[in-house]
Amino acid sequence: MDVGIISYGAYVPRMRIKSEEIARVWEKEGKKISAGLGITEKAVGAVDEDSATFAVEAARKAVKCSGIDPQKIGAVFVGSESKPYAVKPTATIVAEAVGATPFMTAADFEFACKAGTAAVQACMGMVGSGMIEYGLAIGSDTAQGRPNDPLEYSAGGGAAAYIIGKEKQIAEIEATFSFSTDTPDFWRRQHALFPRHAGRFTADPAYFKHVVEAGKGLLEKIKADPRDYDYAVFHQPNGKFPLRAAKLLGFPEEKVLQGLVTPLIGNTYSAASLLGLASVLDIAKPGERIFVVSYGSGAGSDAFSLTVTEEISRKGARPSVLVKDLISGDKEYIDYAMYAKHRRKLKSL
């Protein structure tokens, strides 16, 4: 299809709360919970941040690295499950902020944690068919966890944006393959503040089933083998699931680690696999191959096969601040009280 990634941008908010601090408030064993999830801390947006501001920050970096005139972007799609408005697109806010409006199409995508990769696929289709020259696909979430719910330890925040096009790709997307079923493992009803989940049911029939089927399906479709890849990135609701998914598909752990960002920022939902991919693109060399599988509850997985091109060596092709610096650079630790204030978990706020 000769469609690929022209540029990318990532955003992680600056504040962090440690799993042990959350456990302290609920009088649970913090060290045990942290080790069980493989998450030591998570990224938290400030009181004046939401999934739209995250998306804009990531998108602006992607547009800058692309070097293209934003007026040439024909579609802006934002995937999120924490939209600031239930009705009113985030995509138009982003499109306006990057200077892509008004001669373009825009929409928000919702598919739990895989809405961002669904947006990438939509852009691939529109670019591939010649409907548009460039598409901007974003996954962004300020993940929401009910106080004292297991999800509270993992629900982080962040965004990743990708410009999809044909000319000057930093990575070609050779193929994509999806696997979707109606599986109610995690959901949030229209007026509910926090999502609900089916506990352990979220593992085998949900995450692992879909990730493995999509991954296997893609390998069969393009007659590839895990040995053909230098990196593998999986949706990462915690630090453990992606390592087990890799094992099930036959990818060794060392190919997964560069794309594993959840242990230090939490599950960034729609952004998770896309931030993992950004972390890989930060260091990948021309000719290297990347395997990516997202997962969204409800449920589905999108798998992608990519090959990095010479274009990635061009000056300015990568964002000036790498994902590892967003994760480990300037950050500020907050306690549960500040976290409650910034995420507006106190109902009287």
Partner: protein, 132 residues
């Protein structure tokens, strides 16, 4: 937040992308936008111009008693930022450790929520600054 919806909408180019003006006759940049160059009067020719996204803190204050709509954000820093083209704008400085917020500190523009009209109203977004 008491800003009227039409005003929020009209200010989107100004708040999202710091779209100001420039006089082609004398080269002076203006922000917010102007219809006329006060230096050149009728000889001036005003065009739309994006402001640079970087600058330095010219002066600042820490706000403890905030106006209505910003009570949740206190304490916060309000600064006069001098952009790299010399234009000065009043803005919040966010996401920056207090000891880094000082006169002359380099800042760059970030995109944040400015205000929201309660839980059900519209959200105004726009520029704020962060110490580099």
């Amino acid at each position: 937040m008491n800003e009227a919806l039409p005003l929020i909408w009209r200010r989107i180019p100004e708040r999202y992308n710091m779209l100001g003006s420039k006089c082609l006759n004398c080269g002076t940049p203006y922000f917010p936008q102007r219809k006329m160059c006060p230096k050149c009067r009728r000889k001036g020719k005003i065009v739309a111009e994006k402001m640079p996204t970087e600058g330095t803190i010219y002066s600042f204050t820490e706000v403890h008693a905030a106006p209505k709509g910003f009570e949740q954000e206190t304490p916060y820093f309000l600064a006069m930022v001098e952009l790299s083209n010399g234009v000065r704008v009043l803005s919040q400085v966010v996401d920056s450790p207090a000891d880094k917020i000082k006169i002359g500190a380099p800042v760059n523009m970030v995109f944040r929520k400015i205000s929201e009209d309660g839980e059900e109203g519209v959200i105004a977004y726009g520029y704020k600054f962060k110490v580099k």
